[in-house]
Symmetry: C2
């Protein structure tokens, strides 16, 4: 049985844990907001369930709790940031703020980050742009779990892309998706229920299609969006590759099969070609193109028309990217965030270890 | 039987046709280069096979052969261009040049274009950035043929995205793909051969999955990359939507179900919310992030490692985006461009009509 916790409870607890490992108050708050945005938006795999994972990375000295995040190169519209092994949860908002500031001055800002760690959910960072009447873009590479089309090695991470676009009366358009057919978290849920995975999600270690939901743990690989060549997996592979290149080769982070793993017990890859995990952020000021009022009026029209698309049998409505997450957030802010017993046990462990009330 | 024509033959012919409708020499050459890049790269549906279609748009006064393409709004890193009903084949290179010039000054350039027409293949335009040691991005909306996830109306075009990234010793990385599972051209080939379409490519007018390769002509719809919800079609839908919004809502072009059709005999949509077709271009100067030499060294390493991924049974190698097109281009520059009898007949018709030797 799941137990519900209020956002405030989890916020206070996570913040206290981040303070205990040596984060500044500001960083602890930023990290907590990044982390819990996943729980609020229903991406349970990326929220407090990962808090102990981040702490283990700190214990393994792969995360620096008091980093000196620095701009190491810039032009009026670009910047490369060395995150100094910061929590990605902290480095990403820092980088987005740099992009927003550049957009204020020259219309857009584009920031590539090296030497970082996992940053939580991409959508949270992209959405920072919305209140400034700007479009926000966030992406990151991640440790390799995905085979390129025709390949049978883990070469790319799930490399998500998020794009947040302001609207007027309508809520913002917020797309946030891994460049694979399905996320690893969905496989774990199926496995727990002893269900098969749909065809096109994964292949086994030998590179053969499989529906074994536990296939990844046996050396298998996720497949790029599209699933197989006939269904366009070369497009998902290209998208994942673009995320990898923008995040890591522009910045000097590690890439491809050499991206550092999230679990601290997995050794770091040998001969890494760059430093840490890489992210890429983009911000475009709406009125660098046309007035925000005009733009929003047309976004509202776009959203209204798409929401009212005639539907196929059995479906009530066509969704706008961001709709499901926004509804979950509203519900969870009211009724609390449900946590699995294993996650609760994990947090209790942290509570005892760091002497922080839970 | 196909007949082979040399690039030079088709170049001279297309250029002469564009001159006859009133294009300047420079525009006729630019349009021809854009158009034929599709034939060279093996995207036969977008090359000279469409020349008569462009001419019919001019005859219908939907294309302006002597446009005043203008920047109507700009900041140091952005620009909105009114293409004045130009051929997209001409407007797109104009816009890319503006983006390149901005990137020279402030690191990146981002250009949204309204009041344009079909621009040929996205990859050709994105690749303009390569010789400047810049990354090029090109996308466009197109008339509606695609149903959003859960929908049964044509709401989006095939809305392609191209990203061209320079490398060093290795050839450039050039991804260029429609945001649908499969392109309409592939369906036409299957239909001609009386073959079924794979599941996940299209649905019929009632919104039911179908494998009828002629289904589009009967009122059916293409499906977003992913095919169905279980395989991530909401991601393909989001990508197509982002292309639509960046191309048209940032610029003031028409969007969604209101994008003007390519065939001149189809009436223009009623109550269009913007002007013509929209495109979006981005250019990032490599050394706005790190030195081009460092970047290229790592791109080479990335490409080499991915090309040498272990392969699944029956596949010789993992491809890098752009590999297949580059090989076709090399072959066709040597041996000529094969045209279907129907295309040859079409060009002969133009030859007679405009008194241009073929």
């Amino acid at each position: 049985m799941n137990t519900n916790f209020s956002y405030q409870q989890l916020y206070q607890f996570s913040k206290n844990i981040f303070l205990k490992i040596g984060c500044s108050v500001k960083d602890a708050e930023t990290a907590t907001q990044s982390l819990l945005s996943a729980d609020l938006r229903g991406v349970d795999s990326h929220g407090v369930a990962r808090l102990s994972g981040y702490i283990r990375l700190w214990e393994a000295e792969r995360v620096n709790a008091s980093p000196q995040i620095k701009i190491v190169h810039e032009t009026p519209s670009t910047s490369v940031i060395d995150a100094d092994k910061a929590l990605g949860l902290v480095a990403a908002p820092f980088a987005m703020q740099v992009a927003i500031d550049k957009a204020k001055h020259v219309g857009t800002g584009w920031v590539s980050v090296k030497n970082s760690n996992h940053f939580g959910i991409a959508g949270h960072h992209a959405m920072m742009a919305l209140e400034h009447d700007m479009i926000g873009i966030a992406m990151t590479n991640a440790s390799a779990l995905v085979a390129p089309t025709f390949g049978k090695e883990r070469m790319l991470g799930t490399n998500p892309i998020a794009v947040a676009i302001p609207a007027g009366i309508e809520p913002a358009f917020v797309a946030d998706f891994a460049t694979t057919t399905a996320a690893n978290g969905k496989l774990e849920i199926l496995e727990r229920k002893n269900l098969d995975a749909p065809a096109g999600w994964i292949q086994n270690e030998a590179g053969e299609p499989t529906t074994d939901a536990g296939g990844i743990k046996k050396g298998g690989m996720l497949l790029p969006l599209g699933g197989d060549r006939e269904h366009g997996s070369h497009k998902g592979y290209a998208l994942g590759a673009i995320v990898d290149i923008f995040s890591a080769i522009l910045s000097g982070a590690s890439y491809g099969p050499w991206v550092p793993p999230f679990p601290a017990y997995i050794p770091m890859p040998e001969n890494m070609p760059g430093e840490g995990i890489g992210h890429f952020f983009g911000v475009m000021r709406i009125d660098a193109f046309r007035t925000a009022a005009e733009f929003k009026e047309h976004m509202d029209k776009w959203i209204f028309r798409f929401r009212n698309t005639k539907t196929v049998a059995g479906q009530e409505k066509v969704l706008i990217p961001g709709d499901p997450e926004r509804e979950i957030e509203k519900e969870r802010m009211q009724n609390g965030i449900p946590l699995l017993p294993a996650v609760v046990a994990d947090l209790k462990g942290l509570s005892i270890k760091f002497n922080v009330p839970f």
